[in-house]
Amino acid sequence: MESGSAALGYAPLREPAGVHHDHEHPPEANRSSRVDAQFLGMMLFIISEVMLFGAFFTAYFFIRAVAGAEWPAPGEQLPVAIAGVNTAVLVSSSFTMHWALGSAKAENRAGMRAGLLTTFLLGATFLTIQINEYVHLGFGPATNAQGTIFFGLTGLHGAHVFVGLILLSFATIRAFRGHFTAKEHRGVEVPGIYWHFVDVMWIIVYSTVYIL
């Protein structure tokens, strides 16, 4: 039977005779019994990211609604059609991500690998098209306030896609090494939640910055 102090999560001050415990490590941290540490970490990260995007959107709405500035700046044009195709590329990557996890849950390893690899390639395509768009825009972040906000918002999102690609590359490599089963697939699920968040943010960025 456990002693009172051990039940509380720390070792007793005096060891019973003949019993030796190592005290080199602190007691195990308290954990939520409802949420896994990995999910909790991603949840807190995404909540903080929503606030970060909110700050950038505040700047955008400020110059359009409060300052009444033209969007985009006079003489400048945004490639709405190309960005629209890029939006379709990114949104379709969420479908392949969903397929990958569904395949993992169904023990369909080939489907999971194909889904993860396709998601990674679609994400990389999105980023490549966006960089190409930046090169051919004709204005930069220092040109005017509109340029600063355009590059700030789309660049912030691009950075998130880049982080998502790193997570996806880990998941894809692990999938090809035989990891993940129908029961243990957190390594696909957690990046999947992040990837859908990135897509949701892009839908809002594209519709406000490019269309409206």
């Binding site: 949701v200 839908i203 409206l212």
Partner: protein, 35 residues
Amino acid sequence: MLNPLRSEAEAFRFLVYVSVVVALIVAIVLLVRAL
């Protein structure tokens, strides 16, 4: 209640809902502007 941070399936459903709602808002705004 839908919680997009709970599981990938819920996050995906949330994405689909957001796509539909944003498409509707954009359509309404463009329609109002055109009138």
